[in-house]
């Protein structure tokens, strides 16, 4: 048992995957000597060489486009996008090539590509460094999308994503990179595409992923002091969505609030609210509420704490749902 940070969890998971499978390669900007701007690939080029940990030219479309070719040749590229806001130049290769290749080839070609994206705000960064673009990918058939929320999941989920024969967009909550937890490698992980109940409750269900899981657990704890019993589910997988545990929970609590940093409109919350309503219509005592970033570009960092959903915004919605 060792205490590791979330960042270290990804790093250890990458190392384990590269040791287990020589076809696993890492590509990206500054992933080599520097070990990435967040040091997530720290030490990997030194140990696995420049052929397997590739410092690429500065072009995201080039990274994903060449990854497609490498995947077709039998490799399993793990592409690092340096920050959420820099994935867009690669959007065409991701949406039209990576996502569709298996379908276009009727299954003859697999695309075992992982796209690692440190996402979300809260680190006081400049523009384009704090975005939450997950919905752009979850709306894209052919991609699978997951988000880790803690060091242990980070360690296991990155390995599972790399082992997947389908392309996985892997979101890492950058502001949680330094959060610590004990890792016990002897405990078998659940499947990659499963949600997890992380806190039991009876009055309302909080649904979150990535950075907002911690916020929601804190909110649930605070609510408890006020005598409200709030259940929290870490969605973990955004595409596919693992709705069974969600529906079970909402049928029990009758109320749900979805929380994410991404702008509200057409964020994951909309899809989850729609599905929960379709499935649990007669169990709902209030509409599924959503807490998210506002429908504006990410603001200057001095006011990001106001922009981002926090303990109070979550509690506010919890109260609105409970008193609906």
């Amino acid at each position: 048992m060792t205490a590791i940070t979330l960042g270290k969890g990804v790093n250890m998971g990458l190392r384990a995957a590269m040791e287990a499978d020589p076809s696993v390669i890492i590509m990206g900007e500054d992933v080599g000597k520097l070990g990435g701007v967040f040091r997530i690939t720290d030490g990997l080029q030194k140990d696995f060489g420049e052929d397997r940990v590739i410092d690429t030219p500065l072009a995201e479309s080039g990274i994903l486009g060449t990854a497609v070719g490498l995947a077709r040749r039998g490799y399993r590229p793990v592409c690092e996008i340096q920050f959420d806001g820099f994935v867009y130049p690669a959007y065409d290769q991701i949406v039209s090539q990576v996502a569709k290749m298996h379908f276009r080839s009727r299954g003859t070609i697999t695309m075992p590509i992982v796209i690692r994206i440190p996402f979300g705000g809260g680190i006081g960064a400049v523009e384009h460094h704090s975005e939450s673009p997950e919905a752009y990918f979850a709306h894209t058939a052919g991609l699978k999308v997951v988000a880790c929320s803690n060091p242990v999941d980070a360690y296991w989920m990155i390995q599972q994503a790399i082992a997947s024969d389908d392309p996985v967009v892997f979101f890492e909550p950058k502001r949680r990179y330094w959060e610590k937890a004990e890792l016990d490698e002897s405990i078998e992980p659940e499947g990659l595409f499963t949600s997890r109940l992380v806190k039991e409750g009876t009055d309302l269900t909080l649904l979150a992923y990535g950075p907002m899981v911690k916020t929601c657990i804190e909110a649930a704890t605070a609510a408890q002091e006020e005598g409200k019993s709030v259940e929290v589910i870490d969605l973990r997988t955004l595409s596919p969505l693992d709705m069974a545990p969600v529906h079970a929970s909402v049928r029990k609590t009758g109320r749900a609030v979805v929380v994410h940093e991404a702008p509200l409109t057409l964020g994951l919350g909309s899809e989850i609210a729609a599905r929960v309503t379709e499935e649990c219509f007669y169990s709902l005592e209030s509409p599924v509420l959503r807490v998210g970033g506002f429908d504006t570009p990410y603001p200057p960092s001095r006011i990001e704490e106001e922009y981002l959903p926090d303990l109070d915004r979550v509690l506010d919605s919890v109260d609105r749902a409970l008193t609906y």
Binding site: T56, R104, I109, L241
Partner: protein, 391 residues
């Protein structure tokens, strides 16, 4: 450009850009069918090979005309004709070895032929029954790529994989491999294509960038994409660029062969501009009369890639006239089979698409599939659907 302070003027470096390809055009067989020497490149195969090329060219053109006819008759939704570009495709396609890999656009029917792909498999995409009927990995011929330029990065990545597999520069002719990336003149403007030049150059990847400059990107002439000869683009990225007569199958073979060999040996990428002309419409949906004059067409007809080979074969008595008849006959049969096969192409099952999205499907898709299956069953042959009634 010729401003001293801003030299070297391109003129000085490359010589002026001239109609018909200019002095830089590499040619080994004239439009009249005469073999000519080139200081750097020679065609090192015998007449038997040229005889074979003739057959390839004719068969390819016949596939193309039959497909065009099928589209006119409503059997294909659309067709992208290669008329006029047969030599560029056969010359480069025949230069490929088994272990090489080709990444086509949507127009490389001649290269597909060289890869031994059943022409029928090309029709699926255009008929709308699939998105390419061949096995890209087994045939070492990627699926057609419609998103302009995207495949040049795939080709470069694949070539980087070959490097990592130790399949480059070993000196073993059965092992050393290379990749050819096909793209058009218009594609050279896409960011992806230029990024692939950078990757290939920086990683010295074994890839030949084979650009068929057919002078047009739908309605846009080459001047909309560049103001200098296209092959010169490569110089800005640190690897050689050459312009070959794309209507000369011998020159195209010789140049591509040399470029591929260079790549296989580990000497890195080459840009080959096959200077040719799109004799037909962009696709069967296009109407070139809106944007180009027929004079050009007449002018290029004189450079037909097949006629010059025929002229060579006849003049040098390589074949009897009977041979032409033979090939014609073979082409007729191929065309007939192609047509027959096309009409028999089975439509895909709507339910199959759910299983093809992922290698490991999802509960969501399973559910959508099940729901849709139930829905489809709800229409018993007896009661027609409202829409059918509406029709």
């Amino acid at each position: 450009m010729t401003n001293d302070r801003f030299g070297p003027g391109l003129g000085e470096v490359f010589g002026p850009h001239q109609e018909g390809g200019g002095p830089e055009l590499i040619q080994l067989l004239t439009p009249e069918g005469e073999r000519v020497e080139h200081p750097e490149f020679t065609f090192d195969l015998d007449d038997e090979a040229i005889k074979g090329f003739y057959r390839d060219l004719v068969m390819t053109r016949r596939i193309d005309t039959e497909a065009t006819a099928l589209q006119r008759q409503g059997e294909l939704g659309i067709w992208a004709s290669l008329l006029g570009q047969e030599a560029a495709q056969i010359g480069s396609g025949r230069a490929l070895r088994d272990q090489d890999f080709a990444f086509p656009t949507y127009r490389e029917h001649g290269v597909a032929w060289c890869r031994g792909i059943d022409p029928l498999h090309l029709l699926g995409l255009f008929r709308g029954v699939d998105q390419g009927g061949w096995d890209p990995l087994a045939d070492k011929f990627a699926l057609y790529t419609i998103v302009i330029g995207a495949q040049t990065l795939h080709a470069t990545g694949y070539a980087m994989g070959m490097q990592r597999d130790g399949a480059v520069g070993t000196g073993d002719p059965d092992r050393d491999a290379a990749v050819v990336a096909y793209f058009g003149d218009g594609a050279t403007s896409q960011g992806d294509v230029n990024e692939s030049f950078i990757w290939a150059s920086v990683f010295n990847a074994p890839v030949v960038f084979f650009c068929q400059n057919n002078q047009w990107a739908i309605s846009e002439p080459i001047e909309r994409q560049t103001r200098i000869p296209l092959y010169q683009r490569a110089l800005g990225f640190g690897f050689p660029g050459l312009r070959v007569d794309g209507n000369d199958v011998l020159a195209t073979y010789a140049v591509t062969q040399a470029a591929l060999q260079r790549a296989r040996e580990g000497s890195g990428p080459t840009f080959v501009e096959a200077y040719t002309y799109r004799m037909g419409a962009h696709t069967t949906s296009d109407d070139p009369t809106k944007y180009r004059v027929t004079e050009d067409l007449e002018h290029w007809k004189l450079k037909d890639p097949i006629e010059r080979v025929k002229a060579y074969l006849s003049r040098n008595g390589v074949v009897e006239d009977a041979y032409y008849a033979e090939v014609e006959h073979e082409a007729d049969e191929l065309a007939a089979n192609l047509r027959k096969g096309c009409l028999e192409l089975p439509d895909p099952s709507p339910l199959d698409i759910f299983d093809q999205v992922y290698e490991e499907t999802t509960p969501e898709l399973e559910a959508q599939k099940a729901q849709f299956a139930t829905y489809l069953e709800s229409f018993t042959s007896s009661e027609l659907s409202t829409s059918e009634r509406a029709r």
